[in-house]
Amino acid sequence: MRNTSATQLLFELSQPGRRGALLPKCDVPVQALASLLPEGAISEQPPQIPELGEPDVVRHFTNLSTLNMSVDTHFYPLGSCTMKYNPKRNEREASLPGLLHLHPYQREETIQGLLALLSELQDMLAEISGLPAVSLQPAAGAHGEWTALMVAAAYFRDRQEKRTKVLAPDSAHGTNPASARMAGFDAVSVKSRANGYVDLDDLRSKLDDQTAVFMITNPSTLGIFDEQIAEIAEMVHTAGGLIYLDGANMNAILGVTRPGDFGADMMHFNPHKTFSGPHGGGGPGAGPICVTETLGAFLPTPVVVRNGEQYAFDGNRPKSIGRVRSFFGNVGVLVRTYCYLRTHGADGLRRVSENAVLNANYLLSQVRHFLPSPQGERCLHEFVASAADIKKERGVSAMDIAKRLLDYGYHAPTVYFPQTVPEAMMIEPTETESKDTLDAFAATLFKITGEADDLLHDAPHSTRISRPNEVQAARKPVLKWSPAASDA
């Protein structure tokens, strides 16, 4: 039974004089602070953070946790996010002291086990992507995108070519144009057709000797494979540009086809999606990138290399773009990725994609009769349903339906993305859900479309809060607790 009264803030629970952690007495001779630090360097009072006891803290955060939906507790068909089951064994393995308590500046001879793991992970990602050179350093997918674009920029600089544009379809993740901009390029949008394919005429008209990179998400955010990809790659390569593959949707094609084989020069993986790294309430993820042999020279430094039986960091890479973050990378996430890949092997990975695609197509077949999908009868790992008809007929929006799903114990799909589909609901079931769950979800969606308009406009009804006033939040931002506001 949920403890419904437990919604106070930490700061409101604070009691002067209450203590949590106790520290040991100082076991070295204590010197006067004034003899160690200059006048004015010391704060007269410790920071005014709350004073709580350990039981306070545990009950507070345990109760808060019950206000979240999660993969462990609910079906979470959030399109493009690949909310698959997060294996418990990976958590345990990543918590081994021999992996968890390593300092990034330890001597190489004291981390040979970790380096062997990272080296093998590089090899596995190279094999899955068909792109031989790997950097494990980027901290997230968007960070990987930007890193790869920096690699592309360095490559063109090395060739003494000045190219200024990065092209991406209008259905792309917002991170694509934002990353292009941060890497110093102009972002140019390319039209996609109603079926989600790239509009080749539009691409052709924008492709020129200023084009550095064409970024493509394939399978796309509509969950379809753009079968023009070989032609697109040839067009871009002929113009002297590079193809970047946004790997957000790799869950559809593991062991089926490889980006390196269909023309990509660079890509990132989202291990927190495809390889079951937990999403952590919004991070941490990781964004390893794979590139062609030629581009490998420009990857961030360092990379792990094998010298016989010994592993080492190679930091001597004169053409490298340098460092994109401090230390080596999100190693904790990479260890989980390694566990996932070793658990599956080649056959297992292929079955992951087969079942992800099976589940999505099955759900599409159960849903498209009452929520049309602009892409037709088939999809890969996800599909986009549109509530445009219902919106037009009854004023019920994709958002209303999404909110009502919460009442029935389902996390909502991704809504209003891609922006090219009106009233979009992007649904990705993943391979770790059962037919029973998909049947029940489809039946619930159908039931919702028959419910009274007002019931839907006001949904959700059973969650701890109803729809929040987001306009007020943005107009008068309250971004921290303050004592005055609390007293008032």
Binding site: M69, G98, H101, E145, W481
Partner: protein, 459 residues
């Protein structure tokens, strides 16, 4: 496969409902010429028991802190982590959820983000915090991009060479294609003083300088004169970006009291394991007036339709999913789970716990420095006041030999500095956290000094 639920019968029924006869038929949209016609080349699949054994073998080939006594620092620290942090953060409701796109079913995460932002403001005395970035290095680079956006100056950025060398390298990469000159201000007075000389820096600030980046305590553990530097920057209309150490703020004056504009930090020391450098937590906070240029996710308070207090992601018009190429950053997620860890950590430590932690670091580091420099072989490289880290100069110039032998005696003794600083090739950085005991420090001293008896000291 262990995580797939569909039985062969169910698969068959589903294929029938779809109207295809095999799983292969689901992939016909992928041209056959592009399909992989062989299995991926990978090791065999491992059962849980086999994986467990394999991972134990890999882990056994490492020598972690705990097995060895850790005196390493430089941005990653072996601080104490109360058990409550792991107990709470390992709840599936937290770590298997995602970015709170549906606030009605994410109030746990959103409230924790709001609490995190408040705690960071309390810790730093700054006005506004975001819900976190990737790590200290990328947060530093994001702070500089933000300063360029706020000041509308993109010609020049000044960074002190006492800022973490890897943060500076990251910054260099971020600025590479942006036509911004990154000027590294060399240590003052040459020689041994890796600490700022305000007049040198003030002279470098011009009308096109966006910001000055300073770290205090700096990479060498020493305190910088942040207030004077802030004044110098502000006189020329530039911002001051400060990299801080969260644990030091149990004791040291807060950045917000020193007229700093944007602060960033590596948040790992607030309750997260060293994990060979990541995942970590990029802390970032700023002045109220810059909030709409702040990158990353931010949680804000509001009310629901029935007037109940609740939390949402807010000010999203800054972000990439709305603004695309006009966004303040391409950053998509925060480091939710690690911001949660920091929140639990600070709640569990409280003001007294944090104060005592930082005092223990300070006292023990000074004890270690005093004991080490009793040996003729060692001197402190810098004279400035320091917090929990200090730079030792080996007069025999054999840092590699020292470190290697100490390692053999079970000690991760220090970080050699030669790889980043040519003039410090005979120096190493020693860090002493609250976890180190006097006995461990004495072992370090014996090991390093014991070696000195055999090595020749130049006259």
């Amino acid at each position: 496969m262990p995580y797939i639920l569909n039985t062969p019968d169910e698969q068959h029924a589903m294929l029938e409902a779809i109207g295809v006869s095999s799983l292969d038929d689901l992939f016909t949209s992928i041209p056959s010429a592009l399909r992989l016609d062989r299995p991926l080349e990978m090791g065999p699949a491992l059962t849980e028991m086999e994986l467990s054994r394999h991972m134990a073998e890999l882990a056994a080939r490492n020598q972690p802190a705990g097995e060895k006594v850790c005196f390493l620092g430089g941005g990653s620290y072996d601080h104490f982590i109360p058990a409550v942090v792991d107990a709470i953060a390992s709840r599936g409701e937290y770590y298997t959820s995602y970015t709170p796109y549906q606030p009605e079913v994410s109030q746990g995460n959103l409230q924790a983000m709001f609490e995190y932002q408040t705690l960071i403001c309390q810790l730093t005395a700054m006005d506004v915090s975001n819900a976190s970035l990737y790590d200290g290095g990328s947060a530093t680079a994001e702070a500089v991009l933000m300063a360029m956006s706020v000041t509308k100056r993109s010609g020049k950025v000044l960074v002190l060479d006492s800022v973490h060398p890897e943060y500076r390298q990251v910054l260099e990469t971020y600025l590479e294609n942006l036509d911004t000159e990154l000027v590294t201000v060399a240590s003052a007075n040459g020689g041994d003083v890796k600490n700022i000389a305000v007049e040198n820096i003030a002279a470098e600030i011009d009308a096109n300088t966006a910001c000055v980046v300073v770290q205090s305590p700096n990479f060498f553990g020493c305190l910088e004169d942040v207030e004077t530097l802030a004044r110098a920057a502000h006189e020329k209309g530039a911002l001051l970006v400060m990299v801080f150490d969260p644990i030091s703020l149990g004791l040291l004056k807060r950045p917000g009291e020193m007229d700093v504009d944007i602060v960033v930090a590596e948040g790992q020391s607030l309750g997260s394991p060293m994990s060979f450098g990541g995942p970590y937590l990029g802390i970032m906070a700023c002045r109220e007036r810059f909030v709409r240029r702040l990158p990353g996710r931010i949680a804000g308070e509001t009310v629901d339709r029935r007037g109940r207090r609740c939390w949402v992601l807010t000010l999203q018009t800054r972000e990439q999913h709305i603004r695309r190429d006009k966004a303040t950053s391409n950053i998509c997620t925060n480091q939710g789970l690690f911001a949660l860890r920091a929140t639990i950590y600070l709640a569990a430590m409280g003001p007294q716990g944090l104060r005592e932690t930082s005092e223990l670091c300070l006292q023990k580091a000074h004890y270690a420095a005093a004991e080490l420099t009793k040996s003729e072989r060692f001197t402190l490289a810098f004279e400035q006041p320091f917090f929990q880290e200090f730079v030792v100069r080996d007069r025999a110039g054999d840092v590699e030999g020292l470190m290697q032998r100490a390692c053999g005696e079970g000690l991760l003794a220090g970080v050699p500095l030669g790889r980043w600083y040519d003039d410090l090739s005979d120096c190493f950085l020693v860090t002493v956290t609250e976890k180190r005991t006097r006995a461990e420090i004495d072992r370090l001293v014996r090991s390093l000094s014991g070696v000195s008896e055999q090595a020749a000291i130049p006259a």
